[in-house]
């Protein structure tokens, strides 16, 4: 393998590349055509060319798209179209995506009539970051209040003070890394837009929860699920690892280490998590991050476990870049180059812009939708935005 090392010129070229992709390829795929001026929100379910395949609205993605537009306005350029676009999403979320009890739907139709409620509260976490970013962009105090109120509700769910309908019986209680991980990022976004005094304490506790219960140094692994005491549950579900998810958590924690003035303990934790899950998730045969692995290499339930989804690649591009910026270790330059080259070669649609979402293990395209119930303008533009902006931040600190 050829040794890779990034000098400062290479890093600046990466920043330019990501910003250029973001502004000239990814964002124009979605906007302005996805703005629904008639009913509010966004029309995001699109095929490879960008033609609409469904007018329904996935509430997660409505929130994420609103966050993106507001964040672009806050950090890239004060483009009034982006602010207007963010407002469309904010108002649709606020007016159309809650049931009477104040819980957010998962899926609504174009007009905002409810299609599906789900048990968990991820619609709320994405609404927090949308409302917070929009509040910063617009100065709208009602949006700021909604962000903080929803964050309070998320905290209640996360702490068990507000009950989710249980999916499982009480025989074998378990907990997942998803909630602490998403909550770290939700709190970081809230803090870094409009601020909230609850964030720092909460982030510290969730990172501790991940380190104590999910990170297994003895077997070099980050678990996706554990029992209530943090032990591995030796059944199919309990053994199933999600490397992309763990690597996403790794960079949230590295981000926190940077935010806290290069807190070495946090940086080390994030780097370890990346190392462990790269070892387990990187496909040495075909490249890319695999979707699921079994902790003991037994078969997992999910038959599509060896597919390559877009978002684990996005998370790994961020995590490896951050790891390099933090350590200057050529190991991470190598990893970053591997995942960057793999992803932009196989996922990026040169012809129509944006990325395909779903590849077979061998890198061929399995499914051509650019937007559906789970994919929209989020992981890819967030990666391009974050990589560009974190390089800028490191450059300024030189």
């Amino acid at each position: 393998m050829i040794k890779v090392m990034y000098n400062n010129e290479d890093i600046l070229a990466l920043a330019s590349f990501y910003k250029d992709q973001l502004v000239n390829d990814t964002v124009p795929f979605w906007f302005p055509r996805s703005l629904d001026h008639e009913f509010g929100g966004y029309l995001l379910m699109r095929d490879e060319k960008g033609d609409l395949i469904d007018t329904d609205k996935a509430v997660w993605i409505q929130g994420r798209a609103c966050w993106l537009l507001a964040t672009l306005y806050n950090t890239v350029e004060q483009n009034p179209d982006w602010l207007e676009g963010a407002k469309l999403g904010y108002e649709f979320l606020k007016d159309k995506c809650f049931n009477k009890a104040g819980k957010m739907y998962f899926h609504v139709d174009r007009q905002g009539n409810p299609i599906r409620m789900r048990r968990y509260f991820f619609s709320e976490t994405f609404a927090v970051i949308a409302c917070a970013a929009y509040a910063k962009a617009s100065g709208d105090q009602q949006a700021a209040k909604l962000a903080r109120d929803l964050f309070g509700i998320c905290l209640e769910y996360a702490h068990g003070e507000r009950q989710m309908e249980p999916k499982f019986e009480q025989t074998r209680p378990s907990k997942g890394i998803g909630i602490p991980m998403i909550m770290i990022n939700t709190a970081q976004q809230l803090r870094e837009t409009i601020g909230d005094p609850r964030c720092d304490v909460a982030i510290t506790a969730w990172i501790q929860e991940i380190e104590d219960n999910f990170v297994k140094d003895d077997i070099r692994c980050v678990m996706e699920q554990v029992d209530l005491d943090g032990r591995i549950i030796d059944h199919i579900d309990g053994r199933t690892l999600n490397p992309g998810h763990a690597i996403e958590g790794a960079w949230f924690i590295m981000h926190e280490g940077i935010y806290r003035g290069m807190d070495q303990k946090l940086l080390d934790l994030g780097l370890r998590m990346l190392d462990y899950m790269w070892e387990r998730g990187w496909d040495k045969e075909d490249g890319g991050i695999l979707y699921f692995k079994d902790v003991y290499n037994k078969p997992v339930q999910e038959y599509w476990q060896d597919m390559k989804f877009w978002w684990p690649q996005n998370e790994a591009i961020i995590a490896t870049l951050l790891a390099f910026l933090i350590t200057n270790d050529e190991k991470y330059a190598q990893m970053h180059k591997q995942i960057h080259d793999y992803a932009y070669l196989h996922f990026h649609d040169q012809e129509n812009g944006e990325w395909f979402g779903y590849l077979h293990k061998d890198g061929s395209i399995a499914q051509t939708a650019k937007g559906n119930m789970f994919k929209g303008p989020f992981h890819l533009p967030r990666q391009e935005w974050y990589c560009w902006s974190i390089i800028e931040q490191f450059q300024k600190a030189r």
Copy 2:
């Protein structure tokens, strides 16, 4: 393409092949090692070699395995080991798989402690066929009563007299082919083991429901979901077709046509359903039946839609064989040979017996489990058993 035509000798050779595979390859993979003499029921979650990967028990598969053992006893040979094995499953279902309200769990642990309840009633439908087949094998009147009582509960669910927890809000009501289809087979099995006067009327009504609402002759298609009036719902979920499911329904209806003295209207309906969904589901590039297709060839939500699962191949092997036996049309001999050859070449594990469950589109193995939450001793042994026994039946009728 080489023309294929089966003469009587070929058909007899197929019957021998299926019976031999059933008795000497498929069944011995599972039994006796899966019988749980300690806690009852079966230990069915196994890797390619047959080693246990989980001691949990999926209630669907417990019922299906019990049905298989009792059916082998009833139809292949009165082997007391099969009867004893069926009893283990029957008693586990009866004693361990119901909650206090009388609803069956989806997933329990080895001892029968509940892990997961699901909203629908497919655990019940598989328990009906298990109890009915066991009642016939053993003469146990309590098992016969349980089969009939559970069938009554299934009828109440199917007719909406007993409510399932709704998955969706009321904005866009829909219905699936799954319930009428599974209920046809449940009633057929009940009728053809211990008999029940409710079956014939119910089967007639469900077939009518499928013909009137799900079969679209104008576009040569069997829908998986429609609105309450049988119209296509032009959203991602509503457009998603499941060819294996529709082909399974096709042979249940052909079976009914044969049972009713070669009822031409039913036979024609089953043949049309097979024709339509073979056209849409057969992978002309790589062979095998694809998992999902969009009715208008748009992208479907499920990213693994082009994988080849074991069970659609099993259903297509049965349906094409039945279609040939009914029509003597070389078109169906050709189709049967294509799917038979594809499936036994790619899915069958020559070394360890049984079939792999999950192949990539190109026919390579994606996941090696022989048994998990959804795969166990059912579709493959049912196919081998049914194909063998239906040929015997047609031979006797000559």
